[in-house]
């Protein structure tokens, strides 16, 4: 039986000030088998400002009981929402981390995996993974269609991972409802190494407090979360805490190799993006050399990207010299993007691509299949794919926390903070992070660690072939698996790809835990 304590009182060393605790039976999440749910009203005003510094942390939680049926089997689970302090090795309180944990009732702790999920930004709350991916309930978006109105339906998730692992969705410091504890400020933890350090301390504390130190441990990152998680993995392994598996979805392993983070004059080779441009061109029936994002078509364009486009782009970056016209024509046939556009910016960045593929239209950054007419409401923020889903997730977290999860607060749940403006990106002696060495170090310490990379064919900001190129730096035989599917950056939103991911995750967890 996994211990799921009811309302936890703060650790003695924390000045737990509970200004308004309301305990009621059944916090709106329902109740199973006569187990009482406990709602919680947290009076703290959590802030995502750089200078914010919490003086009254508490570790109280709202606990609700639920059930979901997966493949015909009912799974009773407990949802726990609240804060837990990350503590330094000298037991100093570092930050009050907000999390939502979904734990299956009655499982044996030593055999039951626990997975910590992290979105990215930096500065993004883990609301996307929490409400969109593999929790017992999820939002219905219908992406890439843009017809679903807000509020998005919140439904039982047939692809939930709760049959495989307990799931903990964690907001990094200065996002969601997480805040640094005085004398620290949010800024204290706003850096590649600082952030991973405080999250290591949170993960260790959560496992200890919940009696889960013997459980197989998995980490799941998305976007900047895929930068965060390798550093966190190395730090946990260094600390002596084994990590069984790491899932990297929509990855940016090396800021220095990804041309989407580059502003101004181009210096980075964008060849890793060509297969994604081609998949998007095929989606709109504009590519003539390929007809779809089938494995065969992707293999064809990927070969061309590596053999011809990469060296051509390198020459253009070095000297401004365009390749022979037939090379430019080939790129047009792979993508549908005009030769004139290629001639203008031969090392093609995603912004030029998505604004020029279709006249008078803007394609989504996160999902190139989502488009909007220039000047239309979905185009207003220059990313139709984000503009379509963001209001639905923003609205949902405001009702799911107090409703489904019984957690109420006067604070604003911050989906996107300004952390990136003052983030310390330096890492490993570089001005911008490259976390391939972190994975390499973690694998040295723990050769049984396994890594799964997932990504969407139509994601224009962390393209799948760039992930392949970055991963190829690891030594031959490294325990990595890669799977890419139709869809965008939030790949799980695609109703066709989510079941494929679920099956791949189940196989990955079985392999990484040595299960039959």
């Amino acid at each position: 039986m996994i211990p799921t304590p009811p309302v936890r009182r703060g650790a003695r060393l924390l000045a737990a000030v509970v200004a308004a605790t309301v305990v009621t039976a059944c916090g709106g999440g329902g109740s199973d088998g006569g187990v009482t749910s406990t709602a919680y009203v947290d009076a703290n005003h959590y802030s995502a400002a750089a200078s914010a510094s919490l003086t009254t942390p508490n570790e109280n939680t709202a606990v609700t009981h639920h059930s979901v049926t997966l493949a015909g089997t009912a799974i009773a689970y407990t949802a726990t929402a609240g804060h837990l302090a990350a503590l330094s090795s000298s037991q100093a309180a570092e930050a009050s981390i907000f999390y939502v944990a979904y734990t299956a009732d009655g499982a044996a702790a030593a055999a039951r995996p626990v997975t910590f999920f992290f979105n990215g930004g930096p500065g993004s709350a883990t609301v996307w993974l929490h409400l969109g991916s593999f929790a017992p309930k999820r939002l219905v978006t219908g992406v890439p269609a843009t017809t679903q109105s807000v509020p998005f339906p919140y439904v039982d998730n047939a692809e939930s991972l709760i049959d495989t692992s307990d799931l903990v969705f964690v907001d990094a410091v200065g996002t969601g409802l997480s805040e640094a504890i005085a004398p620290n400020t949010n800024q204290t933890w706003w850096g590649v190494d600082q952030d991973a350090g405080v999250l290591r301390d949170f993960v260790q504390r959560w496992l200890t407090v919940n009696g889960r130190t013997a459980s197989p441990l998995f980490l799941y990152g998305e976007s900047y979360g895929t930068t965060r998680v390798p550093v966190l993995t190395r730090l946990l392994e260094t600390a002596g805490r084994r990590v069984n598996g790491v899932v990297e979805m929509s990855s940016i392993l090396d800021y220095n190799s990804n041309c989407s983070v580059e502003g101004g004059t181009p210096t980075v080779n964008c060849a890793g993006f060509l297969p994604s441009y081609s998949a998007v061109g095929a989606w709109y029936d504009l590519a003539t050399a390929v007809t779809s994002d089938s494995d065969a078509d992707i293999a064809t364009v990927t070969r061309y990207a590596d053999s011809t486009y990469a060296p051509d782009a390198a020459t253009w970056l070095a000297s401004g010299t365009l390749p022979p016209a037939d090379h430019v024509a080939a790129l047009t046939s792979f993508t549908g993007l005009s030769t004139a556009t290629w001639d203008q910016r031969f090392d093609m960045d995603y912004d030029t691509f998505r604004h020029h593929l279709i006249a008078n239209s803007t394609l989504g950054v996160y999902d190139g299949r989502v488009s909007a007419l220039v000047g239309s409401p979905l185009d207003a923020a220059d990313d139709p794919s984000n503009s379509f889903v963001e209001p639905g997730f923003t609205a949902a977290i405001q009702t799911v926390l107090p409703g489904e999860l019984g957690f109420t607060t006067p604070s604003t749940y911050v989906l996107s903070s300004d952390a990136i403006d003052t983030w310390d990106f330096s890492h490993g002696g570089r001005a911008m992070p490259d976390v391939v060495p972190d994975l390499s170090a973690a694998l040295s310490l723990d050769p049984s660690l396994k890594i799964l990379f997932l990504g969407g064919h139509h994601d224009l900001i962390t393209p799948f072939h760039q992930t392949e190129l970055d991963v190829a730096r690891l030594p031959a035989g490294a325990p990595v698996t890669l799977h890419f599917h139709p869809g965008g950056h939030m790949l799980y939103l695609d109703d066709g790809s989510r079941p494929l991911m679920k099956a791949e995750l189940a196989a990955f967890y079985a392999a990484a835990t040595g299960a039959p």
């Binding site: 009203v41 002596g240 800021y255 220095n256 983070v261 001005a431 060495p437 040295s444």
Partner: protein
């Protein structure tokens, strides 16, 4: 219940005031980018022995951070207290000379990392 409704309302109002979301992954500030691009001209993405030495640099930094006495050696207790619990967990296997203290070279030998001179030579 009224309190809950009031909180929900305040929350909704506050949320509407939020600025447009940042991209994820977002671009680092221009000064950071500039520094990185300058660096990258002389330091390409590491592979092979260079990647190995980049990885080793992280482990070395953790070792040095735990070695608060700056003795170049860690006891089991120092490793545990200093955040390098992995060394404490593998201590007896790393401490092949049975002296109760291990150096970073002992750790490298245990991990079968290529020796530093050979790595440096290959990295060129």
């Amino acid at each position: 219940m009224r309190t809950t409704t009031l909180f929900a309302t305040l929350w909704a109002v506050a949320t509407l005031a939020q600025a447009a979301p940042h991209l994820d992954p977002g671009a680092p500030p221009p000064a950071t980018q500039q520094a990185a691009r300058a660096e990258n001209r002389t330091r390409p993405a590491s592979v092979g022995a260079t990647l190995q030495s980049d990885a080793e640099r992280h482990l070395r930094a953790s070792f040095d951070a735990a070695d608060t006495a700056h003795s170049g050696m860690l006891s089991r207790e120092e490793a545990q207290a200093g955040g390098f619990g992995w060394i404490a967990n593998h201590f007896d296997a790393i401490d092949t000379r049975h002296v109760g203290r291990v150096s970073f070279d002992d750790v490298r030998r245990y991990l079968k990392l290529p020796d530093a001179a050979a790595s440096a030579a290959t990295a060129k």
